[in-house]
Symmetry: C2
């Protein structure tokens, strides 16, 4: 159990999101930013445990889809990066380089992986030889390193946690199909388990991954109206398989290069989204699936009945544990009121209040973190009640997130309207001439005019629409436009 050091938490998330965010990270003991390298975060138990559950959700979806885990070296030789031209240009400015061991200078620089295509593909060159070796779908759960100027816990960091998949297919169609599956995996975890509504986009050509043909990315709405990308999938064509000479013999005996994809669920950013989207004035709201503690039991002891109440609390805890519910008792000597605030601030989905009257009546009071609804319930029915309420709570978090996202989206027919929508913390639907490189000039004009708005891309699954580009007036297509993290 983490030591209690609570101050009262009471900050309006919508009005002052930045203060809310920075305070809750620290106050709830998710993380500590005082490590002596800027942009490198110390993850305390509350976030380390949440990450364990987030990782397992994604890993089990990926494995059900035929991916297998691997663990690659953290270091990648410079020569590997040089093999794919766009890739090295995209990542070079952000790479941390190892140049020495002990006092000895290395004969070449070794990169701390910013992403691992150039590590995986040289092994794929050795492992792939026949169409029987395909599809090859591997992933690793790890941290990656990118020197960033502006950093913020779980939003942008110089070291952050993610998953990276690296998949090879016989055909372009196989690779394209995988991008749809990646989106489905993201929806299942982020929306169905964690209650985060998001929009999947095809990004403009000028905003794609270094070395990709197309980038698909997943944006949620932050409380300050900005878009926040917490994952992406890249269609890599044959760029990397050509660069690393990965080839196979197909069923007809022809030698070919596979098509490939990579998918990056941004584990770190998924937690950032969870914190930002679900939290409220009282602090965090942890979705049940990833809460380190799902039910906190608070015994309300008076001196004459303390032992009795504690005994019952222990009984309830073991009842919940044996049903697979992560339960804990707060046995500290703080007041019940203090304990309620503390565990609400940390986002524990349910509290059980237990006093001497409840012990006599063989019942307990179950309190929901999001609505703070109280239900009095017989101890025999407690496990079922927690499971049923967990389901309702998730539905409600998800419905709120979907509603907020839907309400934020408005259509802008002019630059001025787009600008106003962004100022009012919304996402604007606009027309732009094209997402090919030709459209970049219009996107830059719009960015300047709106003070920071960026073209997010075509919304996947939305019916295509045509109209005049709000920047240049030429014929264009429907895209979304927003400020971003």
């Amino acid at each position: 159990m983490v030591e209690m050091k609570q101050r009262e938490f009471n900050i309006d998330k919508k009005r002052n999101f930045s203060e809310w965010y920075n305070t809750i990270i620290y106050a709830s003991e998710l993380a500590d930013i005082r490590y002596n390298i800027k942009g490198f975060l110390v993850h305390r138990p509350w976030s380390a445990l949440a990450f364990r559950h987030i990782y397992r959700l994604f890993e089990s979806e990926l494995e059900a889809d035929g991916h297998m885990p691997v663990i690659f070296p953290t270091l990648i030789p410079e020569e590997n990066f040089l093999k794919e031209k766009e890739h090295v240009e995209g990542f070079a400015p952000e790479v941390f380089w190892v140049t020495q061991k002990g006092e000895e200078k290395l004969d070449r620089r070794l990169a701390l992986r910013p992403t691992s295509e150039t590590a995986f593909y040289q092994m794929y060159n050795l492992w792939v030889d026949s169409f029987r070796d395909l599809p090859l779908k591997l992933y690793q759960s790890c941290s990656v390193f990118r020197a960033e100027k502006e950093t913020n816990p779980f939003l942008r960091g110089s070291e952050f946690l993610w998953i990276e998949t690296h998949d090879l297919f016989e055909t372009a169609e196989g690779a394209q199909r995988q991008t749809a599956m990646d989106l489905e995996i993201m929806s299942r975890v982020a929306t169905e388990h964690l209650g985060i509504a998001f929009i999947p986009f095809e990004r403009p050509q000028w905003d794609k991954f270094a070395g990709a043909e197309k980038t698909y990315a997943y944006d949620c709405l932050m409380p300050d109206g900005k878009a926040f990308q917490f994952g992406s999938t890249h269609l890599l064509g044959q760029h990397f398989t050509l660069a690393f000479e990965v080839s196979f013999t197909d069923a007809q005996g022809n030698r070919k290069n596979p098509y490939s994809t990579c998918f990056g669920p941004g584990i770190w950013r998924v937690l950032g989204a969870v914190i930002s989207v679900h939290g409220d004035q009282k602090g965090l709201i942890m979705p049940y699936a990833i809460a380190p503690i799902q039910v906190i039991i608070v015994p309300i002891s008076k001196s004459d009945s303390g032992d009795e109440v504690l005994k019952k609390a222990i009984e309830i805890k073991s009842l919940l544990l044996s049903a697979g519910i992560r339960a804990e008792i707060d046995k500290s000597d703080r007041t019940p009121g203090f304990k309620y605030n503390w565990w609400e601030m940390r986002g524990v989905p349910f509290r059980i209040e237990l006093g001497s009257r409840e012990v006599v009546e063989k019942c307990a009071t179950l309190v929901r973190r999001d609505t703070r609804e109280k239900i009095k319930i017989g101890i025999d029915g407690l496990v079922d009640a927690v499971l049923a309420q967990a389901d309702l709570q998730l539905k409600s978090l998800k419905a709120n997130s979907e509603k907020e996202l839907a309400q934020a989206i408005r259509t802008a027919n002019t630059k001025e309207e787009a600008k106003r929508i962004l100022e009012e913390k919304g996402f604007a639907r606009i027309f732009i001439c094209t997402l090919d490189m030709d459209g970049r000039k219009c996107a830059e004009d719009l960015k300047e005019f709106t003070k920071g708005g960026k073209v997010r891309g075509i919304r996947l699954g939305e019916k295509p629409e045509n109209g005049k580009c709000i920047a240049c007036g030429r014929d264009g297509i429907r895209v979304y436009f927003a400020r971003q993290y």
Copy 2:
């Protein structure tokens, strides 16, 4: 399912351990050593999945003992190392240094952590203030980096996987008690779950961790008679709390420095021990608790009954899965004999053979990997049989390991006897004058005389004994002596 690329595996482990080991790592697809940085290993799914289970076993024991997980940065500034003199001297020659980001030179060097005391203790300085903050028991599961000249998969590497705990206590006694608990955790996982017998030692003063007062270490016996340390616990006294100015106010109002310990279960080396100790002429034997696949079902299809047999195999698989058993069907078009060899080589604890006659008789043949014993069993009784046999198999692996270790230990009354015992692949019990620094000269004499034997230390839990040092003839104490990895 991993692609089949088997050659017949048939190497005598005892007679040619090194060839056996290097071949099985590659042939069973545990890992690939062909990555283009020496000493850095690519872990393929078979080892990545085994590591998942090894990590979970240790993590759940550590958490039951009150540890909580954290995730610290991979990089540590040089100034942190400089704070503890012995520590920096011990690790400096092995450290990989980051000196650049992009083309910009950093204003100080950043170490890839070789171990994380100097990262943790600067945060402990911020987090610890009162006796109420103690004990503080945190751990992280991560990889660490040490530039090594000689490397071998899972035995010694420049990047390897481990867990590191960093614990603070009010008193020296509290810290000492934790070292006993660390040993108990190691016994529970390595011996009770994985069947590896080992000896816990207090190491000589000249062989302790850089910055420790005492080092306790856990050695198993390798097939070539060498000792192999797969974990250690260090009693750090107040070395690090003084160096990092970590202090607390005790219940009487006095300001004090905590006493500390660290425990490093060598996750990588635990797998190395599992491979080496349990494997046989046919390949790996994976302990049931960590086997990526616990039961492989091999349908023996004749053309007229193939569908029927496959249907039953699927039914059996889902029966096993729903009992929490990791089961898989080998549906490939290889011959049954090929499949038997392949999965035996990869160490899957049980095989189920299923032909059309078994389908008619509603039974299956269960084959144990270690003894290759066959049991015909009704399908209704299959889950119970697997669980019961898993227990027997573990007991038998453990008994073998204990027997081999016990047989390897012999008492030597002279240098010549010690030398012969080592040549005969044993551990020698000898007397040495002392484990304090004064004994180092004798240890070096013995090492030279025996061509590589090293003093392992005092066996914990063994009755102390006195006698004449076999090197110098002075009064001495009972210690163990062996070649080592």
